[in-house]
């Protein structure tokens, strides 16, 4: 089984080298692990720093959004025939130790899409993030009929079938719910595993802004009316 860890990154020069270094190079029962950094039009040294780390780099010449970067990564995984893909945020918000936990249901053929959920176990999460994420979970449930304890999680694992079949259009934050909708449409098995949430002042600054909630919600609606 060969796997790729997709790291979307936009202006992450402060943490990108550390994030890449932290990703495990070996996991039991995975023959080969590659890292693909999708540089989403960074204007800082992200691309240069990542290039020094012996990883694959896909560069968007201009910024297209997190959803677009993830899709580029999945497209690359599909073309290069990977059996497993993991999406792992480039801002250091995820614990690399959770990768094996997220891929486990896929390796055991129990799931095609695994969501690493920050809210499946109690941990120290800022109250505003908790509230916004639960609102997003409710919106995903009411608009798409899918319930997830962390619909906006950036830590996911995709089986070969999911890599091949999930085809989402959203380019910015609203892509998270669309992935779930696609998985439901294609009758893929969805599973959730608890992950650690690392909230640093850097990751909070780089992550989804609270004020983004309204435009993201508006885009969900437009997508439905379209």
């Amino acid at each position: 089984m060969k796997a790729v860890v997709i790291v979307p990154a936009f202006n992450e020069e402060v943490v990108i080298s550390k994030v890449i270094r932290s990703i495990p190079k070996r996991i039991i029962r995975v023959k080969k692990i590659e890292i693909l950094v999708v540089d989403d039009g960074s204007t800082d040294k992200t691309n240069k720093l990542a290039s020094q780390k012996n990883v694959y780099i896909a560069s968007h010449i201009i910024n297209r959004g997190l959803g677009a970067a993830i899709k580029t990564g999945l497209e690359w995984a599909k073309v290069n025939n990977y059996d497993l893909a993991v999406t792992f945020d480039g801002d250091g918000q995820h614990d690399p130790g959770d990768i094996k936990r997220v891929i486990k249901p896929i390796m055991e053929n129990k799931a095609d899409l695994v969501i690493g959920s920050r809210f499946k176990k109690s941990q120290n999460i800022p109250i505003d993030r908790l509230a916004l994420n639960w609102l997003a979970n409710l919106a995903t449930f009411f608009l798409f009929g899918i319930f997830s304890t962390d619909s906006q999680s950036g830590f996911r694992a995709f089986s070969k079938k999911a890599i091949k079949e999930i085809d989402f259009k959203a380019e910015r934050m609203e892509f998270s719910s669309e992935i779930l909708l696609e998985a439901k449409r294609k009758s893929l098995k969805i599973s959730e595993v608890p992950i650690h949430a690392i909230y640093t002042s850097y990751s909070r600054m780089k992550g989804q802004k609270n004020t983004n909630a309204i435009p993201v919600f508006a885009k969900y609606l437009i997508r439905l009316l379209r």
């Binding site: 693909l36 999708v38 290039s51 020094q52 780390k53 012996n54 990883v55 694959y56 780099i57 896909a58 560069s59 968007h60 010449i61 201009i62 297209r64 959004g65 677009a68 899709k71 580029t72 497209e75 690359w76 073309v79 290069n80 259009k169 380019e171 437009i222 009316l225 379209r226």
Partner: protein
Amino acid sequence: MLTPIQLILLAFVVFAISRVYLRAKEKILSPQTYVFWMLIWLAAAFGIIQPGTTSRLAQFFGIGRGVDIIVYISLALVFYLVFRIYVMIEDLRHEITFIIRQVALKKTSKISGKHSKKR
């Protein structure tokens, strides 16, 4: 006899029709869009020349004045067009992203690795 405001509005409608015709001739507008805009502007011209028609239409729909029905229809049309433009912009964004993705995938490589792998 036409009033000054009717003449001004008619002149604008003639200008708008000429633009629609020219853009269709340049094949910028599709035949459907050409017919849609022609109908809109011809209806406007008819309403300007025969203002009584709008009053009769308003009465038919149970609306007080002729001008009110024009405002209602125009607003609905403008909202719909804004929505269509939004969808069109979204489509354009997707097309741009598609091109950027294809370029990125074509150039994806392991720069400092021993085995350079390209699509």
